[in-house]
């Protein structure tokens, strides 16, 4: 199968497309596909020319660390849980996330995610839940807190978001979910974090909600929004 990859040598060089002829075996994920291209003594492109190994980031290879986020056939996804056999068409295109600076090939610098959370003091500090809530409400909240805390900070929600540009003022769905986690785990910080939420998410979100479609952890950002929008 033809695999086209948008490559870039370093942060300062131009990007270019390079194609490979790859054997796609049953059950092979895009991570497995990249590995199969890379793990040869000589890497050759579809023209038979020797070329450099494809740079990409991975760690867990089972969808729980967020390292291998990229854009596959136009859809932002994790390479380790996107399977070649499930993709339509007779070629696969892979490019790096476009909302972050490219370091090398498919590796991008996502440090803006941590930077924005740091600037806005998104931390719980101390567990002080709202104890006045009913048991059933608490249980429901617990499930959403558990889900929100599974956020991988992979950046897929930012990639697909029509409102997220470079993270200058609008910080995207992952920010909204972390704000929810802080507000719900520490009621004393709810007001303060609510202000940050409004400034860096609430005002800018046009509710396209495509973030939820691509989230590998299936976090219901709308549930976080509902809670945060109720903050005074």
């Amino acid at each position: 199968m033809k695999v086209k990859i948008l490559r870039q040598k370093n942060p300062f060089s131009e990007s270019y497309w390079e194609a490979f002829d790859a054997d796609v075996t049953e059950g092979m994920s895009i991570a497995g596909l990249l590995d199969s291209i890379n793990y040869n003594d000589d890497i050759v492109n579809d023209k038979g020319e020797k070329t450099a190994r494809i740079g990409w980031e991975c760690s867990c290879l089972q969808g729980i660390c967020g390292a291998c986020a990229m854009v596959i056939n136009g859809t932002p996804a994790l390479a380790c849980e996107t399977f070649a056999g499930n993709l339509k068409g007779d070629e696969i295109t892979i490019r790096p996330l476009s909302k972050f600076p490219v370091i090398h090939d498919l590796l991008v610098d996502r440090s803006i995610i941590q930077e924005n959370l740091r600037k806005t003091d998104v931390y719980i500090e101390e567990y002080k839940p709202d104890s006045s809530k009913s048991k059933s409400k608490k249980e429901k909240e617990y499930l959403h807190q558990y889900s929100a805390a599974k956020c991988l900070k992979c950046g897929l929600c930012l990639e697909v978001c029509p409102n997220y540009a470079g993270g200058e003022n609008f910080y995207g769905a992952l920010f909204a979910n972390d704000c929810y986690l802080v507000a719900s785990r520490n009621k004393e910080k709810a007001g303060e974090i609510g202000k940050m939420y409004k400034e860096h998410f609430g005002r800018g979100c046009s509710k396209a909600l495509s973030c939820m479609d691509v989230c590998p952890m299936k976090i219901e950002t709308t549930a976080s929004m509902a809670k945060m929008n109720r903050q005074p």
Binding site: P11, T25, G27, M28, S29, A31, G32, D35, S36, N38, Y39, D41, I43, A52, R53, I54, G55, E57, C58, S59, C60, L61, Q62, G63, I64, C65, G66, A67, C80, E81, I103, D109, R110, S111, Q114, L117, R118, D121, V122, Y123, I124, E125, E126, Y127, Y142, Q145, Y146, A149, K150, C151, L152, K153, C154, L181, V182, R185, N186
Partner: protein
């Protein structure tokens, strides 16, 4: 002490940094990628602690006994006692910082049973305990960053420690974003780089944990302890990209292991060990699957779809996603795979190595698990060790002596420049692959002298060519310079396994199938200009 460098941003490293900050010590956390990518997020099961309302009959003493027994009495009693006594405070701390624990009807952390334990004492966060703890600790690190007590540096890989006359003064890093070496000086250096899964290729753990840091420090004079004790998880399955782990919960819920003989299922664990045979300890099950010498399956289908959906959703999803296996209808083909390293950098009870001011915490340190680890004790040890090292560092006065390593840094920089010009027939990733094949083949579940010796010969050959590899500019510089350290760690492990002429815990020798009292002590291995020297720590010199 005034400042520390922490290498690695998993649970043990972050804990150490936060505890240092609380004690007034500034730290710099260095790792190539953020905490969300660390292997800590993969720890699913839970964290052991005897809380103030234990299961009837349980006590801290029971937890100590289980841990020591699980480790075949190689772990130090005082260290294990400290670990188990500190467990309740650790759970309280995790609750305080907002970790989303699974809770009981009173809102307290719920507990479940776990392998090798006499009582129900494993606290958990659904099936994502490690991830939930990482999420809580990341926020704590952020709080300390805001207070100016922690700074973080990404895209930087460990190169070497700055050591002179048995004292550590800092570390040298390769900054991949700037393409150059950067030296950092500190009053203490804490290694929190995890185990060495990736030394074995793509196994159940993270591809980031390759053991280079431990290997390099070993070459620089740090001693290793018990590297031959490697825990194999019995139930993993192959995919096109790695081995996936089927949680012990599957057998805990009644899962049965079998193979096919003459068209019939043979439930070999039950035949040999009785009705509870499938729940024997990980080392026993792994060896039996190995001994079966044919394809083995794990069956949970008899539980029915509803029960599987309720009790094993993660196993169901994993098998469906990566092998298109519907576990409600068909069995899972399983085989053992490398999972956890009981051995690592030798540390005293305060987590200092034999190099002054150089500490090691988490899986890269060897202290609590002896010859085999109890399920639920790895997360506990990660948090506890980070706290212990932080306490020790914060209570020490700042070292008076300073040392300048400018010449060393310059020389290492020139070596890397020279490496860029190298041309040979040996690409670095190719040798890493060969080394992974060697350790898998010769350092497996069942070992013997001839296979270990053959493995050592192979590794010596790779080491002989590691200095003249073909520089590969398309991978991180780290991959190019890390090869020798990784191979040296593998060689040390193989040597230690060869010297332990007995079977104990996770180390099984077919030529010495029984435990031998004369080996009832930890192995300590040191590196002396290319010579690997193994001794048994019968005097328990590290237990102080």
């Amino acid at each position: 002490m005034k400042n520390a460098i922490i290498i690695g941003s998993g649970i043990s490293g972050m804990t150490c940094a936060v505890k240092l900050a609380e004690a007034g010590v500034r730290s710099l956390i260095v790792s190539p990628f953020p905490a969300e990518r660390s292997q800590s997020v993969m720890a699913a099961g839970g964290i052991n602690a005897v809380l103030s309302n234990p299961e009837e009959g349980d006590s801290v003493a029971c937890h100590v006994d289980d841990t020591l027994k699980g480790g075949n009495f190689l772990a130090g009693k005082n260290a294990v006692k400290g670990l188990c006594e500190g467990a309740q405070d650790i759970i309280r701390y995790l609750e305080k910082i907002g970790t989303v624990f699974t809770v009981d009807e009173n809102g307290a952390p719920a507990r479940h049973s776990f392998g090798g334990q006499s009582h129900k004492r494993t606290c958990y966060c659904g099936a994502a305990t490690g991830k939930q703890i990482v999420s809580a600790l990341v926020m704590e690190v952020r709080r300390c960053e805001a207070a100016g007590m922690i700074s973080r540096r990404l895209w930087s890989c460990f190169h070497s420690a700055l050591i002179k006359d048995g004292v550590c003064y800092g570390a040298l890093f390769f900054d991949e974003s700037q393409g150059r070496l950067v030296a950092e000086y500190a009053d203490a250096v804490v290694i929190a780089t995890g185990g060495q899964n990736a030394l074995f290729g793509k196994t159940t753990g993270s591809t980031q944990c390759d053991g280079y840091t431990a290997g390099k420090l070993f070459m620089q004079g740090a001693e290793l302890k018990n590297p031959e004790f490697i825990q194999y998880h019995p139930t993993t399955f192959e995919t096109a990209q790695k081995r996936m782990l089927v949680s012990e919960t599957a057998r805990g819920e009644g899962g049965r292991l079998f193979y096919i003989e003459n068209g019939k299922r043979v439930y070999f664990m039950e035949e040999k060990y009785g009705p509870k045979g499938n729940l024997m300890t990980r080392d026993v099950v792994s060896r039996e699957i190995y001994a079966a010498n044919r394809e083995v399956f794990l069956d949970v289908s008899f539980l029915g779809k509803d029960e599987i959906d309720r009790k094993l959703p993660e196993v169901r999803d994993l098998c469906k996603k990566y092998r298109n296996i519907d576990i409600a209808k068909e069995p899972i083909p399983v085989a053992p795979s490398v999972h956890f390293f009981m051995g690592g950098l030798a540390v005293r009870n305060n987590h200092e190595t034999n190099i002054k001011n150089l500490f090691a915490v988490g899986e890269c340190a060897s202290i609590y698990h002896g010859a085999n680890r109890l399920g639920g004790n790895s997360l506990l040890a990660a948090l506890y060790s980070g706290s212990v090292a932080a306490k020790e560092i914060s209570e020490r006065p700042s070292p008076e002596s300073k040392c300048d390593f400018a010449d060393y840094c310059k020389a290492e920089g020139l070596k890397l420049e020279k490496m860029k010009e190298s041309k040979s027939q040996f690409p670095v990733m190719y040798i890493r692959d060969l080394a992974a094949q060697t350790v898998n083949r010769n350092l497996g579940i069942v070992r013997d002298a001839s296979s270990l010796q053959k493995g050592i010969e192979d590794l010596d050959y790779y080491l002989s060519v590691a200095g003249r590899i073909n520089y590969d500019s398309s991978v991180m510089m780290y991959f190019n310079y890390s090869l020798t350290g990784i191979l040296t760690l593998a060689r040390a492990t193989m040597t230690s396994a060869l010297e332990r002429k007995e079977s104990r815990g996770a180390h099984y020798r077919s030529d010495y199938p029984d435990a031998d009292d004369s080996f009832a002590a930890s192995s300590i291995i040191s590196y002396d200009g290319g010579a690997y020297r193994v001794r048994l720590d019968k005097e328990r010199e590290y237990e102080s």
